[in-house]
Symmetry: C2
Subunit: 166 residues, 2 copies
């Protein structure tokens, strides 16, 4: 896929997420794209992303669903407003809740595909459902309720006044 | 706390979890203990475990609840059988489902405390509720449904026959 990922459009001050921030060199750098009405991200777990030997850590799967879900929420919100992700103001979402069902152990050593689908857009809240598959088989499914970032938090970030930042 | 953590009792072949395995040098090494009827783990996020600058990544919070939940399930199952975690056979749990509600942004740069409570033990299924707090304030709460590992999977691990392991 040559096009830009949803996360590539996040402004710099919102691009430090451990899961999907392009400026977090220690992070997972999950990248999500539209594929018709669905969104898709492919992630290659590293050998140490183990649950039990041979299988992928559930917290990583939760992280994939989380960041792909909020990314899909953001892209869907722009689309609902009929404008591109490169236009202002930025629409960035935080996770309100995350639910994951682990259907079967997820094999380690193969790429994982997470697919999202927008279930509902309601005011500042976007609900996204997702599946995580390995070798064409769905191993986990989940749902993210994403909340558009409050303006006061965005302003706080832009001013650099986080107080507790390290 | 000088005593051994729940995870210290996991047998070697079940101690490679990215979230809580004592043998995973790249992992988070979450360690959980009893504190009366509750279980507790304290974790220090690293500076790169960022969501937005100054706040902790939600996927890390999900991971803490996940591993602390399955660890608490294991400890509770031993306790229900009236035997120590150093006795055979090992009772190890996998995550069946994980639910997290993010109540407020979690500040980065301070230790996080995750507290678990056993909600139900039913056959091979243990339900654990959890909170994650920073500076004494609950920032997230969640629930893990933990399922006792099937015997065929345990045997497969012991034989080293994972097929897809990397």
């Amino acid at each position: 896929m040559g096009q830009k990922a949803f996360q590539d459009y996040y402004p710099d001050h919102l691009s430090h997420c451990y899961g999907c921030g392009r400026l977090n060199q220690n992070g997972l750098q999950i990248r999500s794209y539209w594929d018709g009405e669905e969104s898709v991200a492919v992630f290659h777990p590293r050998p140490f992303h183990t649950a039990i030997p041979g299988y992928v850590y559930g917290g990583l799967i939760a992280s994939m669903i989380d960041c792909h879900g909020t990314g899909t929420a953001s892209a869907a919100a722009y689309r609902a407003e009929g404008r591109g992700m490169d236009t202002e103001p930025a629409l960035r979402f935080l996770t309100g809740s995350l639910h994951v069902e682990y259907l079967r152990p997820t094999p380690l050593g193969v790429p994982l595909e997470v697919r999202g689908r927008v279930k509902e857009i309601k005011g500042r809240k976007v609900t996204v459902t997702a599946t995580v598959s390995a070798l064409g088989e769905v191993c986990a499914r989940g749902e993210v309720i994403a909340i558009q970032m409050p303006e006061h938090l965005e302003k706080e970030l832009l001013s650099g006044d986080q107080g507790l930042n390290t």
